[in-house]
Amino acid sequence: MEISTNDYRVWTEGSTIHYEGTMRLSGTDAYAPVLEIMNSVLESKPEVITLDLTSLEFLNSSGINLLAKFTIEIRKQPDVGVRVLGSKSIPWQSKSLRNLQRLHPALELTIS
């Protein structure tokens, strides 16, 4: 599954969801198709879901809400683990991704 626009691309490879580019959509409704892709991976109940954000240069606060909402959905399923991969060279990730871990302490966050 994949969503591709001039600004961003979201696609899955097995239980890994990749994000690339700049996501500044206007709110929950605009992010709904992205959430749909994410939920479809969760519905397959993998052992671990990986969110690969290492190429996501910019995400607005509505997008941060999307990641947080999904983290809460995973938290409800104790059999599904979650790993979030970030990059030190993308400043928003060091500032905001730790909130996901505060929501779900079992989330494994790697910013390298």
Binding site: A68, P91, K95
Partner: protein, 181 residues
């Protein structure tokens, strides 16, 4: 009468590098995507004016994120009219002021939110808001913009409501400052 909340005083001085622009409502057909292009442009502009010792990549991103979130709100809630943006940078302090008009009902609701926002720890409020959003499938906005700025970026924020300056609605000035590193 002007009503103020939070930190509204100017934090940069006369030596600051300044840059102002107005997004004109009419010929531009002001819309959502103008937030992103404007904030990226201002982030780029001010990151080039940073003094030594400040990480230009972090400065560009932080300035861009801050302006984008405030402009998204301005464009979403504006009651017609232009949006004025003025940025200033002095040493490690960056400040932005965004002026737009909102209607009286929006102003009233927003003042109520601000009272809560300024009394509590923004980090705690951010998590509470995220949990509340997850429980409410009908919420269309996240309400996380200001909270992420204050909690994740350490931004100091202020708001000034001036109903008397416009013929209809309320003129809202949003003031935000960051300490760059």
């Amino acid at each position: 009468m002007v009503e103020e909340f939070g930190n509204t005083g100017q934090v940069t001085g006369s030596e600051a590098t300044r840059f102002c622009l107005t997004l004109m409502a009419e010929p531009l057909e002001l819309s959502w995507h103008h937030s992103g292009v404007t904030s990226d442009f201002m982030g780029e502009y001010f990151s080039r004016a940073c003094t030594k010792g400040i990480d230009p990549l972090d400065a560009r991103h932080s300035i861009s994120y801050m302006i984008n979130e405030i402009l998204e709100n301005a464009i979403k809630f504006r009651h017609g009219g232009d949006v004025e943006i003025s940025g200033s940078l002095e040493a490690e302090t960056f400040e932005v002021r965004v002026v737009n008009v909102i209607d009286e009902e929006t102003a009233r609701t927003f003042r109520g939110h601000l009272n809560d926002l300024l009394e509590r720890d923004p980090g705690e409020l951010l998590l509470e808001r995220i949990e509340a959003n997850a429980l409410d499938p009908d919420s269309s906005g996240s309400g996380l913009g200001l909270l992420t700025l204050m909690s994740d970026y350490g931004a100091k924020m202020g708001w000034s409501f001036a109903p008397g300056r416009v013929t209809e609605g309320v003129e809202l000035t949003t003031i935000a400052s960051l300490r760059l590193s």
